[in-house]
Symmetry: C2
Subunit: 325 residues, 2 copies
């Protein structure tokens, strides 16, 4: 993760762009790991940084802090944040808590707890918001690849791999050209206010409209996080297929069967994420394909179905008619 350049740069720039907020202030780094974010905060002028790390990596963080000359500023606390005590409340919380598809194995509960316990009223949270997106995509590695491996048909292997993957989403880079429609927001979190209940389930039903012809073989998920900013455009850390790859890559749920779509074909799916009752750090993800004929489309749907073409025509006529003469 330390080699994830977009991740490191987004945090560094968000912190350095807002040095005025950090100078002389107190910061809590939740799940500090090797301490890189704590050092960024110290470099930005924080008066005190509490770096809380539950694992033994805390020992390395102490060395990292020392080799950067901030042992007077950064206090390493080798503890779960749930068990930690701080001598004071803090002005800012920084944390890199995001897991695959934002929520997987994530530490968000710990960040929420830390915020409620240790952040001064009106304090800042870095990042401040997070958005989870989904979009239909092609997954050639799960389908097309297996039709011909050096002249050998291996469709049985593809089917087997898809069967195995239908129960677990896979983490891979989805090339932008494999994304078949505009993304939909699955979840938007304001980290100043979010509660654990807000992330226990998420469910959307989306009428995606194919932006090009292709093979509809899966749903891919990614997220972005936005940092507070008082001086510049807010910095966003994006894990979209449009942006440089990060260690989060994208998450793909493969469909049991593929569907050829044309440009403007509607692809209707229901996506649900639900916290596992056995392991609250895990989520069960389910994708259900719905029949575009049987589901209401949004009022202004750009798909090629007759009812949507007619509705668009009526709406456009109405807009023209209602223009001031």
């Amino acid at each position: 993760m330390l080699k994830d350049v977009p991740r490191n740069r987004a945090y560094k720039q968000a912190i350095f762009d807002n040095k005025d907020q950090f100078r002389g202030r107190t910061v809590l780094d939740v799940g500090a790991g090797t301490g890189i974010l704590s050092v960024f905060c110290a470099q930005a002028g924080a008066a005190r940084v509490y770096a809380v790390e539950a694992s033994n990596v805390a020992e390395i963080a102490a060395e990292v802090v020392k080799e950067n000359g901030f042992e007077e500023v950064v206090t390493i606390i080798h503890s779960r944040v749930e068990d930690a005590t701080l001598p004071e409340k803090v002005d800012i919380i920084v944390s890199e808590w995001m897991g695959f598809y934002l929520l997987h194995e994530a530490m968000l509960d710990s960040v929420i707890l830390a915020r409620d316990k240790f952040l001064k009223p009106g304090g800042l949270v870095f990042p401040e918001s997070a958005t989870l997106y989904s979009a239909p995509c092609s997954v050639p590695d799960m389908f097309d690849t297996w039709t011909n491996i050096e002249g050998v048909s291996m469709k049985s292997v593809g089917a087997k791999i898809r069967a195995e993957n239908s129960h677990k989403p896979s983490t891979t880079l989805v090339p932008l050209e494999n994304v078949l429609a505009d993304p939909e927001v699955v979840l938007w979190l304001d980290l100043r206010e979010v509660t654990p209940d807000d992330v226990s389930t998420a469910k959307i039903q989306h009428v995606a409209v194919a932006s090009k012809a292709g093979k509809y073989q899966g749903i891919c998920l990614w997220f972005s996080c936005t940092f507070p900013s008082f001086v510049t455009e807010p910095i966003t850390l994006s894990t979209s297929p449009e942006d440089p790859p990060t260690h989060w890559q994208q998450t793909t749920i493969v469909l049991p069967t593929e569907l050829e779509v044309e440009e403007k074909s509607p692809m209707v799916y229901e996506l649900s994420l639900a916290r596992s009752s056995e392991n609250p750090r895990r989520y069960n993800i389910e994708v259900t394909m719905l029949d575009p004929e049987e589901v209401p489309h949004p009022e202004y749907c750009s798909c090629h179905m007759t009812k949507c073409i007619l509705t668009r025509a009526v709406l456009e006529k109405y807009e023209v008619d209602s223009l001031p003469q």
Copy 2:
């Protein structure tokens, strides 16, 4: 592994180049996996292929054989080869048994046993020979990377990672520009004759001479395999940093400390591989750095040490003097 194009192509080409050897013959595929090599052999005209696979993947192999229309030619035997019985001896053994650094987790013992039990005298083995190489290299991911991560010194992290990796070689792609000297052969195996004893230990001592200035930070290992050929140049499957990447990548043993070398600096190391007594499918690898001053160099050594420069001068003078006048 099925997506490893150099691997698939080398086997296919070696088999297809030698269709005359396969036509009407009997073949044993040891550790057949999903059966791709068995199908290649059937496509090349084999009369009978016995595909022996111990794991449940044998079931997928049966489907693959069927979807390619060779269920009359390929017999799937769901068994360890050690426990298998065949109704006849075979003309050819094909197997893709190679592990990381050739020997790791490898099935070579099974191939040897199958050869001794099932191959007709004078039968062919695909591949026929295998060579393991080593060379000094730079490993910037283990050293240089950690001196500056977005303005933060993280040498402690690098040291920790190196300490963890000193006990286990790592599998990564070594860019050719990180290889610092010509490779040395660690082990050469003739698969028609090799015995398990031949691969229980290997030890070399090598005076490598830097082909350029750089940071000597590790030893990397790779292998190549050569197939029998009766008509064309023998096909070689190479996993060298010079060749297109394979799923085997290269194997690197990182040194505890780095050494700056100049062009023509000698780098003397001893490399030993020894089969683990607890788990005979695993090997313990040890690299020992030796002092170039204290080790005899080869007769014609191209390094920049005075004794070698002098020896070279004498040898060259001798060669000139001994030329016919």
